[in-house]
C-alpha cells in the first residue's frame, strides 16, 4: 500500500466521522490526481481536453455518492481507480460510442504528478438547469457561488435541514442526469 493510500484512507475515515475539512482536502487531491488520467483518456479517444473538468467532476460526484461502498479496512486507491475508470469510460462512451481503457492507465497515472484545474465546459451547469427549482437554487448557490449552508438557508428562506436535504437530493439527481445523455 502506498504512502498516499494510507494518507487518503485516513482522510476518508476522518471524513466519515464528520470531518468536512479533511473530506474537502481529500476530494481536491483526488481531483488533482485524476486530471492527467482523464486527459490521457480523452487523448486516446482523439478528443481535446475541453471536457476534462466535466469528467473530473463526474468522478468526484460518484466518489461522493458511493462512498459507503468503500470498506475502510481496505486500501482506498484501488476503489478510487475503479470508480474513475468506470466513470471515464462511461463519459467517453456517451460522447463517442464504443470505447475502452486498459486498467493499467489508472494505476500509473493516478501516481503521476498533479495538474492545475481549468474551467469546466459547463456540462454540469446545463444539467443543473434540469433540476427542480428548489434543488437547483440550493446546488447552484453552494456549488457555483461557493455559499455556505447557513447563508443559503437565510437567502432562500429555508431551514438549514431543508437546505441539506435539497443539496443531497440535487447532487444525486445531477449524477443521474449526467449519466442520462
Amino acid at each position: 500500500m502506498s504512502e498516499r493510500d494510507m494518507k487518503w484512507a485516513d482522510m476518508m475515515r476522518a471524513a466519515n466521522r464528520g470531518d468536512a475539512e479533511s473530506y474537502e482536502r481529500l476530494l481536491r487531491q483526488i481531483a488533482a490526481a485524476l486530471r492527467p488520467v482523464v486527459r490521457r483518456g480523452l487523448a486516446r479517444a482523439g478528443r481535446s481536453g475541453a471536457d476534462i473538468e466535466d469528467i473530473v467532476q463526474e468522478v468526484l460526484l460518484a466518489v461522493h455518492l458511493k462512498r459507503h461502498t468503500w470498506d475502510d479496512a481496505r486500501p482506498i486507491e484501488p476503489w478510487i481507480h475503479a470508480i474513475a475508470r468506470y466513470k471515464v469510460i462511461d463519459a467517453l462512451r456517451r460522447r463517442d460510442g464504443n470505447f475502452d481503457l486498459p486498467i493499467e492507465d489508472f494505476a500509473e497515472t493516478l501516481a503521476a504528478e498533479e495538474e492545475t484545474p481549468r474551467l469546466s465546459s459547463g456540462e454540469a451547469e446545463r444539467h443543473l438547469a434540469r433540476l427542480p427549482e428548489g434543488q437547483r437554487a440550493v446546488v447552484s448557490a453552494i456549488a457555483v457561488e461557493g455559499a455556505a449552508i447557513a447563508e443559503v438557508a437565510v437567502r432562500l428562506n429555508m431551514s438549514v435541514g431543508a437546505v441539506r436535504v435539497a443539496l443531497h437530493r440535487g447532487l444525486a439527481a445531477l449524477a443521474r442526469h449526467l449519466g442520462d445523455n
Binding site: L27, R28, Q57, H68, W79, L171, G179
Partner: protein
C-alpha cells in the same frame, strides 16, 4: 462550474450516503427471502413426507447444494458491488457447488443401474421445477438488484448474473423441499436449467438497471 466550488458543495453535503454494502445485502436478502418463502408456503408448501425425506442423502444433498450455490454467489456479489474489490478467490469458491454436483452425478451413475438413468433424469415434475424456481426467485432477484443499485457495481452484467444465482439458489432451496425428485441426475438437469434462466434474466436486467 469550478471544480473547487463543486468540491465544496460535496464536502458540505453531510447527509450520510447509504448503509454499508454488507448491511444492504443482509436487509435485501431477509426481505426477499421472506416474500419468496411466504409465496412458497401459500402456493406449494413442503412435501408431506419431508421428515422422512430429510433423512435421505439425496434430499439433503439437493438442499445443501442449492444453499451452497446461494452462499458462494452472495460472497461474489458482495465483491462485485464494491469498486476495485478483488474477486478471484470468490470466483473459485463459486465453482464449489457445480463441482460437487458433478461428483454427485458421477456417484449416482455408479450406484444406479443404467436402465434407471432416464427415469431419474426425467423425474416427474420437471415442468413444475422450471416454472416454480424462476417464479419464486423473482422477489429475491428484485431485492438483490435493488441492493446492488445502491452500491457501485462496475461490471453490471456480471453483477446481475450473480444476483440471479443468489436468487435462483435460494428459490431452489425452497422449492427443493416440495419437489419429490431427489436424484442428482434430476437436480443437475432441471435445477441447473431453472437457476440458469434466473441468472440470464439477472444479467439482462443488471445491464440495464445497475447503471450508476
Amino acid at each position: 462550474m469550478r471544480t473547487d466550488d463543486f468540491v465544496h458543495a460535496l464536502a458540505v453535503d453531510r447527509t450520510p450516503s447509504h448503509a454499508s454494502t454488507g448491511r444492504q445485502f443482509a436487509v435485501a436478502l431477509a426481505i426477499g427471502f421472506a416474500v419468496s418463502a411466504l409465496a412458497f408456503w401459500w402456493t406449494l408448501g413442503p412435501r408431506p413426507d419431508i421428515a422422512t425425506a430429510a433423512m435421505t442423502v439425496r434430499f439433503d444433498f439437493k438442499i445443501t447444494e442449492a444453499l451452497l450455490l446461494a452462499a458462494t454467489a452472495i460472497a461474489l456479489a458482495l465483491r462485485l458491488a464494491q469498486p476495485g474489490a478483488a474477486t478471484a478467490a470468490q470466483k473459485w469458491v463459486l465453482c464449489l457447488a457445480p463441482v460437487l454436483l458433478a461428483v454427485a452425478v458421477i456417484a449416482e451413475l455408479v450406484v444406479v443401474p443404467a436402465s434407471q438413468w432416464p427415469i431419474r433424469l426425467v423425474g416427474s415434475m420437471s415442468v413444475m421445477c422450471l416454472t416454480a424456481i424462476p417464479l419464486l426467485s423473482l422477489p429475491l432477484l428484485a431485492a438483490m438488484l435493488l441492493a446492488l443499485r445502491r452500491s457501485a457495481p462496475t461490471r453490471r452484467t456480471a453483477a446481475g448474473a450473480v444476483a440471479g444465482l443468489v436468487a435462483g439458489g435460494l428459490a431452489a432451496a425452497l422449492y427443493g423441499t416440495q419437489c419429490i425428485d431427489d436424484s442428482p441426475l434430476f437436480v443437475a438437469t432441471w435445477y441447473t436449467l431453472s437457476i440458469g434462466m434466473v441468472a440470464g434474466l439477472g444479467a439482462v436486467l443488471g445491464r440495464r438497471v445497475l447503471y450508476w
